[in-house]
């Protein structure tokens, strides 16, 4: 077990280094005159040269990356080129907000998708067709359209939720709920569709297995067979799908946060990328990669819990 975790951790670290390196070189390879962009068109050539030197941009890219990496390992991600705010500071508070949305959406989609998937797989017939139809729609309709529809109906027309803004969970839980509910629903729709399809498929597959007949022959109640045995066996693929969706949710949050004016990573990302704020973009890519690697590790451990064969190998 510990060896398995260590191996996954090591490959995760390699992945993070490769991703950040690739991003770094791409950003620098075609960055143009960064100092000029920071200082504006009025700046003299001398100040531009001086700024370039200050930022260390006149040195080889490899050296620059090595420096970035070694200070990143020590927790220093540098400062924004435009606001001089430390990158870790700019990201950390916003990362929490984004994670609240994404984890909330993951929990909601997990629960709703299991309910829909089980319903479709056990009842079949029109319920199954209806769930499948919903899944196609949910998969196809972009989340920002769902968000716009939700805002129009529930925030602007019925005024049940706040259309924009964000209240911290620790300062006012009720206010938090009223600001995150719509974004979480908007985010969840797509992943509910994906996960419900997966759960449905693997439930139908598992229900057809010999051991299910044997469990029935032992006189176990049908609900116990479905929710304890079949769902446990169908859970692995469903969980894998949920992990894939998590990465998608992280991306979807970027757009959703814009619609609801939520101060998460999305806002920083859009700002940082349109300005070409390399340290901030690097920080964002690093933060996202770490979250993704962590989630994949957690999912692997959960898979081991669900499937005894995975646990042993």
């Amino acid at each position: 077990m510990p060896r398995f975790v260590l191996r996954r951790l090591a490959s995760g670290v390699v992945l993070i280094v490769v991703i950040t390196a690739a991003t770094f070189f791409l950003l620098h390879a075609s960055g143009g005159n960064i100092a000029r962009r920071i200082l504006g068109q009025e700046a003299t050539e001398d100040t531009v040269v001086q700024k370039t030197h200050e930022l260390g941009l006149d040195r080889p890219v490899l050296t620059q990356f090595r420096e970035w990496l070694s200070s990143a390992i020590h927790g220093d991600l540098g400062a924004s080129w435009f606001t001089s705010q430390p990158v870790s500071e700019a990201i950390s508070s916003r990362l929490q907000v984004t994670l609240e949305l994404v984890i909330g959406a993951t929990i909601v989609s997990g629960i709703v998708a299991v309910a829909l998937g089980v319903l479709a797989a056990t009842r079949r017939g029109w319920i199954d067709r209806f769930v499948q139809f919903l899944a196609v729609l949910g998969f196809a309709i972009p989340n920002f359209l769902v968000a716009l529809a939700l805002v129009t109906v529930f925030a602007i027309h019925f005024k049940i939720f706040k259309p924009t803004g964000y209240t911290g969970l620790e300062e006012d839980p009720a206010g938090w709920l009223s600001t995150v509910t719509l974004p979480i629903i908007a985010l969840s729709v797509g992943s509910i569709a994906g996960v419900a399809q997966q759960i449905r498929g693997s439930m139908i597959d598992a229900l057809d297995r010999d051991y299910v007949r044997t469990l029935r022959s032992r006189g176990l109640p049908e609900s116990r067979i479905v929710y304890k045995h079949v769902l446990r066996n169908a859970g692995g693929p469903g969980l894998a799908m949920l992990a894939v969706q998590f990465v998608g949710l992280l991306g979807g949050a970027v757009i959703i946060e814009q619609i609801f004016a939520i101060p998460g990573l999305g806002q920083v990302s859009v700002g940082a990328t349109s300005q070409g704020d390399v340290p901030l973009v690097m920080g964002l890519v690093l933060a996202t990669a770490i979250v993704v690697v962590t989630i994949n590790l957690v999912v692997d451990l959960l898979q081991g819990y669900l499937n005894p064969k995975v646990r042993l190998s």
Binding site: L26, L145, L148, D208, Y211, V247, V254, V270, A289, V292
Partner: protein, 589 residues
């Protein structure tokens, strides 16, 4: 391929979405002719006005004509989608073909690149790329094309590596065709269909992604785009809510049309691959074809009143077919199992014996049902019981030992927990009592280290052990009737005899009635008191084992005897029969 196209045209969802998409493409192509106004001429005096005769869909926040902008924005969407598809398809298919066909290095590179590209959300990568590439949508979607290429890669790679080892590809190679010719002629045809399905889905995603980027305000503001219009509408949502509607409809409907088209294509492809997977059991059981003839019944010992445990009368089992008719697999079966006796049900594969056993348990595979007759167990007709009453009976009164030990244990739970569960339900035992009883049972069925097996997962025990576990599970609640479906067929020859001995001992010790389904007269000779011979869904001969062995009257019964190896060692008082199941392989139909 042409047949796929033809079938798609008969699929209503498919044709509906196809027509819509054609309309979208046409309005993109003819946008300059269709648009009533210049999309970029802003009428500063007429902003946010609603629909009118001059401006059918009204004006946006800057005074542009909404309809004209919508049409020109369609151009952008169509072009961007085509761009993404071409890049993703070319990259993914070429790499997939190379990796699937040549393997090795291409494979390693492809897999590494795939996992790298999928470690980050696409939109984050796109945003990072934007900071370098600037506001051009074309550059961004080119990057997206690269990001989504792994989807094509995986489909093509798995299809090609599956086909790589096929004989006809080898034959083509031997006959001297060059690799490019083989790829073009034999391999590409395999991947074409799944790639088209995938393309429809990716097109939908790229419409959503490009609109999303423009909606975020990251696109080129000088070119009209659906996402940009959505942004404008959202900004003015309080004053002119209709403005959000048009681009929303354009984006939403196009995305849904692509998804439905992909779905319809996939459905038709699956249908082409031969109807939904047929159930194993159904396939095994052949339709009743023989003309009904009288059952040959041998003289039997007179029945003592009250000894009948299970009485099956005129049982018929059928399966619904797609055309609405019912296919009968068991017809007019009548048999009796008395208390404490072993009744063998013998016949070749597909004779309907397993279907008969499942119908007594009321565990027929989906689609199957009892279409006639009665199953009386301890005075109750099982065919008429509710699902709940039947559940209460199963495990407690009627138990089942399956054929294939390894697939009949739930792989996700320990052997012990699977043994304990029914005992806690039926006998109301506490956790510790149930565990103690489970350990006793494991010891009773001859498991050398009950504690270890109790804690083991099914994949950690051998087939013979698993069958002992299943037998222990079947007898755990002291059933009156045990239905054993070929309990030794899947086991090693050496283990077969041991398991038969165990079954016999348990049956005598607990005075259970047993219905033993088998294809092996050796097993019948070893265990059974009476036997019924089944052929093509009917019972053709029935009676005490000794009587039938002494004088098999039905032709089919005799042919089953003839199938037994002639030089087999005889055992016991029954002449001309092999010993236990150990030498019964010869009868396997």
């Amino acid at each position: 391929m042409t047949s796929l196209r033809r079938r798609l045209l008969r699929n209503p969802t498919g044709i509906g979405s196809l027509v819509f998409l054609v309309v979208v493409v046409l309005s993109a192509v003819f946008a300059p002719l269709l648009a009533p106004h210049d999309p970029n001429t802003a009428n500063a005096y007429d902003t946010l006005s609603g629909p009118s005769g001059k401006y059918w869909l009204g004006n946006d926040g800057s005074g542009h004509d909404v309809l004209s902008r919508l049409l020109f924005a369609t151009r952008l969407s169509v072009t961007l989608t085509a761009e993404t598809l071409v890049i993703a398809a070319v990259l993914g298919i070429v790499l997939g073909l190379l990796a699937g066909y040549y393997g090795k290095i291409f494979e390693a590179v492809g897999t590494a690149a795939t996992s790298l590209l999928q470690a980050l959300p696409a939109i984050v990568v796109l945003l990072a790329a934007k900071s370098v590439l600037g506001p051009s949508d074309f550059a961004a979607m080119a990057v997206f094309g690269v990001l989504i290429a792994p989807a094509f890669y995986r489909v093509v790679y798995s299809a090609v590596s599956a086909v790589r080892g096929e004989l006809y590809v080898d034959a083509a190679r031997v006959s001297g065709l060059s690799d490019p010719r083989i790829i073009g002629r034999h391999v590409l045809t395999v991947v074409r269909a799944p790639a088209i399905v995938l393309a429809a889905n990716i097109a939908g995603i790229s419409v959503a992604i490009s609109a999303g980027l423009d909606f975020l305000g990251l696109g080129d503001p000088s070119i009209p785009s659906w996402g940009g219009m959505l942004n404008d509408g959202f900004t003015n949502i309080f004053t002119q809510p209709l403005l959000v509607l048009w681009p929303s409809l354009a984006i939403g409907l196009t995305c849904v049309a692509f998804a439905l088209l992909g779905n319809a294509l996939r459905d038709e492809l699956e249908r082409a691959d031969g109807a939904p997977k047929r159930r194993r059991r159904v396939k095994q059981a052949a339709t009743v074809a023989v003309a009904p003839a009288a059952v040959i019944a041998h003289d039997d010992a007179p029945e003592e009143p009250g000894t009948d445990l299970l009485v099956v009368q005129h049982l018929s089992v059928g399966y619904g077919t797609p055309d609405g008719s019912v296919k009968t697999v068991v017809e007019d079966v009548t048999l009796t199992v008395r208390r404490g006796e072993v009744h063998g049900l013998i016949g070749e594969s597909g004779s309907g014996k397993t279907q008969t056993a499942f119908s007594i348990l009321r565990l027929l595979p989906s689609g199957g049902r009892i279409v006639g007759g009665s199953i009386t167990f301890e005075g109750k007709d099982l065919a008429g019981l509710s699902a709940k009453e039947m559940t209460a009976l199963r495990g407690k009164k009627i138990a089942y030992v399956p054929q294939e030990p390894m697939s009949n244990l739930d792989p996700s739970f320990t052997v012990g927990s699977q043994l304990v569960e029914p005992m806690r339900i039926h006998l109301g035992l506490s956790k510790s009592d149930a565990k103690a009883r489970a350990l006793d049972l494991l010891a009773r069925v001859g498991i050398p280290n009950p504690g270890r097996t109790y804690a083991a997962y099914p994949h950690e025990v051998s087939g013979g052990m698993a069958q002992r576990v299943l037998i222990a599970g079947a007898i755990s609640c002291d059933p009156e009737l045990l239905i054993a479906d070929e309990p030794t067929t899947a086991l090693d020859v050496t283990v077969q005899a041991e398991v038969l001995d165990l079954l016999r001992d348990l049956q005598r010790e607990r005075r259970m009635g047993v219905l033993l389904v088998t294809h092996n007269f050796g097993v019948v000779a070893d265990l059974c008191d009476r036997v019924s011979v089944m052929q093509s869904g009917r019972i053709v001969e029935t009676g005490p084992v000794r009587a039938i062995f002494a004088e098999p009257r039905h032709e089919y019964t005799r042919s089953l005897f003839d199938a037994i190896l002639p030089d087999a060692e005889a055992r016991g008082a029954l002449p001309g029969v092999t010993s236990s199941g150990t030498l019964g392989e010869g009868v396997t139909a």
